[in-house]
């Protein structure tokens, strides 16, 4: 029994502590912090989806927010249409958005559209053997264009101002049915837990091992007869759907969505969360997101009296943080902890072996 417990890697303990913390958090906090934490948990799902893609498979997507925003906007447009928001000038949704008129349809679309976008980009990129940096650059360009596109299509997206929604439920879009912050917090926590368990299962399955092999040595995997392109496409679509889901939750929590949720800013921000926490482990993505987002919220409320332009200084500090991270702990906070622990274990094992040998020589 003790051996089994000892064998559990350290990051699982951190995960457990994290979920325990999240589950007890709303009982001793004010409503404002429950609301903030709900948003952060939606972001955590987003960070997890990027971690599957970047940390595990080695595909550095610099436009992941497109998939996040696509999910969010589907819900936003659906709500605006059903509740007849003031700016809506169209009577009927066009055929490609027709599903949005029903509640489950909107939820379905919010998962489907990111998957389709990921599928389209993925088919072209992975079958064409576009690797490494070109994948990053093209996804970056997609994010840039998506931002322009959303601002431009103001008939459906309300342009610069974005969409405000008032319903805070999982499916329903009507304005009257609305969960409290407290209730909705646990809805998101449950979804986060489900997503986390899904990620753990996926990464411990055979597929997960192949994905890690793609990151380590794609050429050798091809020699073994695997088709890396198919696996990459699979994980890109899965990750896209997760990003779409997080977009849905985020819109529900935040109550609004605008073009910043789809553009380069968020796409690079999520990279920073994952990089700070440590890519290649689910714990890293979660911890990085929590640390940076909580820090931003705390600092911005602390400095709100001092300077009106807190966001500028925060971004400046964030830039410095990234530099420090890539210089000092390129594996991220959790990555470094795991590595240190591993080294410690190796040293202990060597020590034990040496002691045994000494005993043998003396006898």
């Amino acid at each position: 029994m003790m051996d089994m417990i000892k064998k559990i890697p350290i990051n699982k303990y951190i995960d457990f502590a994290l979920f325990l913390f999240l589950a007890t958090f709303p009982f001793y906090q004010k409503t404002y912090w429950i609301y903030v934490m709900s948003g952060i948990m939606a972001y955590i799902i987003f960070a997890l989806s990027l971690d599957l893609l970047w940390g595990y498979t080695g595909l550095m997507s610099m436009g992941h927010s497109v998939l996040f925003g696509a999910g969010g906007y589907m819900i936003g447009i659906s709500c605006a249409y059903i509740n007849h928001a003031g700016w809506v000038r169209f009577d009927r949704l066009p055929w490609f958005l027709a599903l949005l008129s029903s509640e489950t349809g909107a939820f379905f679309m919010a998962l489907l559209l990111p998957a389709v976008i990921a599928l389209f980009i993925g088919i072209f990129m992975f079958s064409g053997k576009i690797q490494g940096v070109f994948f990053s650059l093209i996804t970056l360009a997609v994010a840039g264009i998506a931002e322009l596109f959303v601002v431009n299509q103001s008939t459906y997206t309300h342009g610069d101002s974005g969409i405000t929604i008032t319903s805070r439920t999982i499916l329903s879009n009507s304005e009257t049915s609305r969960l409290t912050d407290f209730q909705f917090y646990f809805v998101i926590l449950a979804i986060l837990l489900a997503v986390y368990l899904f990620c753990v299962l996926l990464m411990h399955s055979r597929t997960g091992k192949v994905l890690k092999a793609i990151r380590e040595n794609e050429g050798r995997l091809t020699f073994f007869g695997y088709k890396p392109a198919a696996f990459k496409l699979f994980i890109f679509v899965i990750s896209g759907m997760m990003a779409g889901l997080s977009g849905v939750l985020f819109v529900r929590v935040q109550g609004s969505i605008n073009y910043t949720a789809i553009g380069i800013n968020l796409a690079t921000l999520v990279l920073v969360w994952v990089a700070v926490g440590g890519r290649g482990s689910l714990t890293g993505a979660m911890v990085g997101t929590i640390i940076l987002q909580v820090a931003e919220t705390v600092l911005s409320s602390a400095f709100s009296g001092v300077s009106a332009d807190f966001a500028q200084y925060w971004k400046l500090a964030l830039g410095a943080v990234i530099l420090v991270i890539v210089f000092v702990i390129p594996k991220g906070i959790i990555g470094t902890i795991i590595e240190a622990r591993q080294k410690h274990r190796d040293r202990m094992r060597k020590e034990r072996i040496r002691q045994k040998e000494e005993v043998r020589y003396h006898v």
Binding site: W54, M60, M62, I121, F124, M125, S127, G128, K129, I130, G132, V133, F134, S136, L137, I138, L140, A141, V142, G144, I145, L148, F149, V151, N152, I264, T268, L271, V272, A275, R279, D309, Q312, Y313, K315, L316, L318, G319, A320, I322, L323, I325, V326, F327, P330
Partner: protein, 287 residues
């Protein structure tokens, strides 16, 4: 018909601008395999230098260009020696580090110069008319600058001693080192030359754009798309893809609007990159 001619001519002008703004990126990516996300922020820095030197201090425009190039070159040396040289061969780290630099540059510009737009006057204001086609003379000058920079870069890379060192370092670093060439110095020169070109381009485009801290963002998508399509380490590939991208954007935006044009062109670029992953005109030389 005349409208089409006008669109084609203005497309040609914007192609030259795109070429100028992406050259530095191509140099750094092609010869050093480093993606410089801070590139577009250097455009912004160059534009600010142009504003303060040309508009503020009333020095001639050519001086503004020269100072922008020199300042960005020096900044490039600093950045390469301090940060970039630690991350060669590590893609994710390079992207994160250069992104951090771009973030720092942008926020510093915001803090130092404020949110206000600054406008740089056109050095020449004449407008030429050929039949029904109008060309602003400054656009012609820009096209001239951009071609001149392209030719000079070609000469620098292919005909000079330094260029030979740069090419040999790209092809075989170990062998180059064995021949007694300081490859670290070569890296620094290559990187700062690319940064210098970015600064120069920024100063040159300052009159046709509003100078503000977010100037870099607006160029990000286009320059990176251009580099992806043109293929790295091929100067004339970049020339060709600049012309293709901007001509099609210009013509399509004449028919509908500019965002639709950009989306269509992006999709086309993705398809082209699928068909020719190495870029349009990658040289066939053996590595």
């Amino acid at each position: 018909m005349s409208m089409l001619a006008q669109l084609l001519v203005s497309g040609l002008c914007s192609s030259s601008v795109l070429l100028l703004t992406s050259l530095g990126l191509v140099i750094i990516l092609g010869y050093m395999k480093v993606v410089n996300l801070a590139h577009t922020e250097m455009l912004m820095v160059g534009a600010y230098i142009c504003y303060y030197v040309y508009q503020g201090a009333k020095l001639p425009f050519a001086a503004a260009l020269a100072i922008a190039f020199a300042a960005s070159f020096l900044f490039g040396i600093l950045i390469e020696r301090l940060i970039i040289c630690h991350f060669y061969g590590k893609m994710s780290e390079t992207l994160l580090a250069t992104y951090a630099i771009s973030m720092l540059l942008k926020q510093l510009a915001l803090l130092l110069f404020g949110k206000n737009y600054k406008k740089v006057d056109y050095p020449t204001t004449e407008v030429f008319t050929f039949g029904s086609v109008y060309i602003e003379s400054y656009k012609l000058i820009l096209a001239g600058i951009s071609l001149l920079v392209l030719v000079l870069t070609y000469i620098f890379i292919n005909k000079t001693q330094m260029g030979r060192k740069i090419r040999s370092t790209t092809q075989n670093r170990t062998m180059t080192e064995c021949l007694g060439i300081d490859t670290r110095m070569v890296d620094t020169i290559t990187f700062s030359y690319g940064m210098g070109l970015a600064g120069l381009a920024g100063a040159a485009i300052a009159p046709i754009s509003t100078v503000t801290y977010s100037l870099g963002e607006s160029w990000l998508t286009n320059t990176f798309m251009n580099v992806v399509m043109g293929g790295v380490s091929s100067l004339f590939g970049t020339l060709a893809s600049s012309i293709i991208i901007q001509e099609s954007v210009s013509v399509i935006s004449g028919l509908s609007n500019s965002v639709t044009a950009q989306i269509i062109v992006l999709l086309v670029v993705i398809v082209i990159v699928r068909l020719k992953p190495e870029g349009l005109f990658t040289s066939k030389e053996k590595r």
